[in-house]
């Protein structure tokens, strides 16, 4: 499987991540492969994986906001039932121009994921059906809430009438001072 995918991966300029690395003393699972692809090559690569590579099941499709690098990382997790193998396709897109090719022509249910990604991250997928309709947040007017520059605490305090009297303790200091004052410091 690995050789087969890698042979075509060169065509799509996809490179495997951490295949033989040991992370925290543990080797990566044999049946899981991370591939990083350029944005232009992502959908052709996924199409190849689905049609010819045997990865017919879209397990998961989500995004991660790496605000420090000014990118969104889009994650496609595919599974092959014949080979019992997972493959993760990672695509980095520009955070300022958050736009990605749609894959709803490959899996119709991807349109729902894309609807959610637009609502939560503001990533657009041109051509995806029902993309701009309300999904979970009906009538949301703020910025996309899962972006990391959206301050959810500030928004909540402004909008939802916080009840006064809530005190927040740092768990470590609170435990040390209040509950176990005599104990030796173990953390």
């Amino acid at each position: 499987m690995y050789e087969n995918v890698m042979k075509s991966a060169e065509r799509f300029k996809a490179r495997p991540l951490g295949r033989d690395q040991k992370i925290g003393g543990m080797k990566q699972r044999e049946d899981l492969l991370f591939m990083k692809v350029e944005q232009e090559q992502a959908v052709p690569f996924i199409t190849w994986l689905k049609e010819l590579g045997g990865f017919g099941h879209l397990v998961l499709f989500t995004a991660v906001d790496f605000i420090e690098q000014d990118i969104f990382q889009i994650t496609y997790l595919l599974h092959s039932y014949e080979q019992h193998h997972d493959i993760v396709v990672l695509v980095e897109i520009d955070r300022q121009k958050a736009e990605m090719e749609s894959i709803h022509h490959l899996w119709p249910h991807a349109a729902t994921y894309q609807q959610e990604l637009f609502e939560m991250f503001g990533i657009t997928f041109p051509g995806s059906p029902r993309l701009y309709e309300d999904f979970a947040l009906e009538g949301w007017q703020g910025p996309p809430p899962m972006r990391r520059d959206f301050d959810t605490k500030e928004y909540s305090e402004k909008t939802y009438f916080p009840r006064p009297g809530r005190v927040t303790h740092d768990p470590a200091t609170y435990m040390k001072e209040q509950l176990y004052p005599g104990e030796a410091q173990t953390w």
């Binding site: 051509g127 059906p129 947040l137 009906e138 009538g139 959810t152 909008t159 939802y160 916080p162």
Partner: protein, 218 residues
């Protein structure tokens, strides 16, 4: 972007032109939707009111609408171990037959829309039980972007049951507290809602932006 309906501006345009659901209804049938403000209902006097309150407290019919994760605690309450029927409590499938609304934990804005609508459809006298700490101050979702913090700013609440989640015993204690309050004639949430209707509506409108439902007191 070849599909026209995908255009966000166009969709906003369409949304602006969207009319409420009862606009298409013929003139004679529009009356099925209530467009009147709720009114204050004066209680009876003396022994009549006390008798009515006793009767109300002994048949609490709760609305079977599990609005949050706390609704899972209502299932063991129904079955033989805790058996809420011996307290005269039973679930009803529709708000029009129910007298007690149990808000089961966190309420997101999307659910809040349904809660308000269901609460307004319930017939008086109606009582609200806030279940779990999420209804009191937001609980563990206090800083979430989409869940409310204080339920009593949107609908009047008679009894809160603290806990995350409260066990069925706590729920029974809460229902008994509700019964005692009803018998004492202190559960006046419906009149409170009618008196402070503008305040409640202003709070509701602050979070619920798209109503798109029948023009029901909105």
């Amino acid at each position: 972007m070849d599909n026209d309906s995908n255009n966000k501006e166009q969709l906003d345009e369409i949304r602006k032109q969207l009319t409420l659901a009862n606009n298409d209804v013929r003139e004679g049938e529009q009356a099925y939707f209530c467009d009147a403000r709720p009114v204050v209902v004066e209680p009876y006097r003396g022994i009549l009111e006390r008798f009515a309150n006793w009767a109300r407290s002994e048949s609490l019919w709760i609305l079977g609408f599990g609005t949050g994760c706390g609704a899972i605690e209502l299932r063991p309450l129904m079955t033989s171990r805790y058996d809420m029927y011996r307290f005269g409590i039973q679930p009803r499938p529709t708000p029009r037959q129910a007298g007690v609304f149990v808000i089961g934990g966190y309420a997101s804005v999307k659910t809040m829309k349904r809660i308000v609508r269901s609460y307004e459809q319930m017939q008086g006298p109606k009582f609200v039980v806030g279940l779990g700490s999420c209804t009191i101050n937001g609980g563990m979702y206090w800083d979430s972007y989409n869940t409310i913090n204080r339920l009593d700013h949107y609908i009047p609440v008679d009894v809160y049951i603290a806990g995350c989640m409260p066990r069925p015993e706590a729920l029974l204690a809460g229902f008994n507290a509700l019964k005692a309050k009803i018998r004492a004639g202190e559960c006046d949430g419906m009149n409170k809602y009618a008196q402070n209707f503008d305040w409640y509506k202003a709070n509701q409108k602050q979070i619920i932006k798209h109503w798109e439902m029948p023009d029901y007191n909105w």
